[in-house]
Point group: C2
Chain length 302, copies 2
């Protein structure tokens, strides 16, 4: 399906994309491109990529697909380094957690060649990072959200979708703005709230005593506060407007709940808790009913 | 060690205590006491209790230990029903998630016999409830917090501690007030925050779209919002003062973080996120180093 795929940033996300394409037999050659040759050597050693390069000119020669899998704040710099060597038939996509800012960077750098950039965001991750964490099944049964631009030829969008499908992902389409509002609510805000709680507790004079009694509920609630602070600083700033909107709505909700608690409004508290419990149960049931990952056998025939 | 133990409320918590005592060979007879004979019949069928009763007089005859494992809001009513039949040598303890309110209820009901009540709170749970969820190892390697009263004879506190140790638990001691402040921070506030987030999202006009893109991080963050709304309404109200204090501290923290985000203060955001990540990592390392559950073999010799 693909002759030559270039992965910029061969960590968990880029490496798992490479392994997924290889497992599906969907690519002839994968080249890893990074500034650091150390990460590349490890990716080569693990068999994630067939060849490595620190030179964009060499890597991009004859490439039909390029995946950017580096922190979103680096998008403009990376695209600027690729642009002189970007061949007319090459499609560039990305795996960034925010889309409006990535699109703005891509437009600023690529200008009249923006049609070659199809923005995307696979909804998958693991607790560990780097090439050693990469696995071929990371995207199996998971969503890959594409946020195509008006300038993208439909055939280019289809090619990017086909690559993610080869990795086992289910394709969803949103506009960049819709994407950012949705993920501000269900991902970026929860990260901010979890970081805020752990920092709040860690700064109390009796923090050691508190952590001593934190149990499994606290562990799950704060798991996302174990994520990279640099990455989430960048995501928070890249999606600042949508995140501020969601944070303000949540602060209003918390203030309302505080008033119910202060008034000892038992029915009012139970209404909020009960509505949340029912909504979460319905969501979990929907996930378990509709999103059972297809088995590798079912998927490999595609 | 115990001749006759009475469990009031033979669900996950009470049933697992019964199974743990039996597995350790620490009790001759366990009697389940409830108003509903249905739950009792199931507990008897599962072998959790040796006998069942809906009659406090019968159940309490000759009992050396009584565990209250019912919702905390029922403490006063249950103690009032037990008091006429409570023998002088019987020790009563409980498993409630809040302690100051439980102690206040116990003092009001038991009065000059308050010395017979040793308050406690085992820090363990599962996602499922009821007698069918009970397991003998629920408390193994987990903390059981006792909050003894000045009136308790040390020998009575030791007996309650010995029962929890027989179930594999590690005994900690706090005052009721300390207990409630600690759990307001590390348990009750996170529950309130998780309920608030899910309710907030569920009430948005595009809730279906949002839930569609919620992934594993959201699932873990909101797991505790799957807990019983009635139970958490009661806990929130029972520990209202401490919970309001923690909520206000958290609101101040969130407002500070909002200001950093609005100012695009990258260093300020990273400082909070980074401090949280480091504190959480240190906590997880401490858990994994110091709290590896003892194996059944090590424990059975006690």
């Amino acid at each position: 399906m693909f002759d030559k795929v270039v992965i910029v940033g061969v960590g968990l996300i880029g490496g798992s994309f490479a392994l997924g394409l290889k497992a599906a037999g969907a690519v002839r050659e994968i080249v890893g491109l990074e500034r650091s040759s150390e990460a590349l050597a490890r990716a080569r050693q693990l068999g994630i990529v067939d060849a490595v390069s620190t030179d964009p000119q060499e890597a991009l020669h004859g490439a039909d697909l390029v995946l950017l899998a580096a922190p979103v704040a680096q998008t403009a710099g990376i695209l600027a380094s690729l642009l002189p060597w970007l061949e007319p038939h090459t499609i560039v996509t990305d795996a960034g957690s925010t889309k409006s800012d990535v699109v703005a960077s891509a437009r600023a750098v690529l200008q009249e060649r923006i049609h070659q950039f199809v923005p995307g965001h696979p909804i998958a991750g693991r607790e560990s990072n780097g090439p050693d964490a990469a696995i071929p099944d990371l995207y199996r049964g998971k969503k890959a959200v594409l946020t195509p631009l008006p300038e993208n030829p439909p055939a280019s969008v289809d090619k990017v979708a086909a690559a993610w499908r080869a990795c086992g992902a289910i394709i969803h389409t949103l506009t960049p703005g819709e994407h950012d509002k949705v993920f501000a609510a269900v991902s970026h805000l929860p990260h901010l709230l979890a970081y805020a709680l752990v920092d709040d507790i860690a700064n109390k004079p009796h923090a050691d005593l508190l952590f001593q009694y934190a149990a499994s509920g606290f562990r799950d609630f704060t798991r996302i506060a174990g994520s990279s602070p640099e990455m989430w600083r960048d995501i928070s700033l890249a999606n600042r407007d949508a995140l501020l909107g969601e944070l303000d709505a949540y602060l209003a909700q918390l203030n309302g709940l505080r008033a119910r608690l202060a008034d000892a409004d038992a029915a009012g508290l139970e209404a909020v808790y009960g509505n949340a419990q029912r909504a979460r149960r319905a969501w979990i049931e929907a996930i378990e009913t509709f999103e059972t990952p297809p088995s590798p056998d079912q998927e490999s025939g595609k």
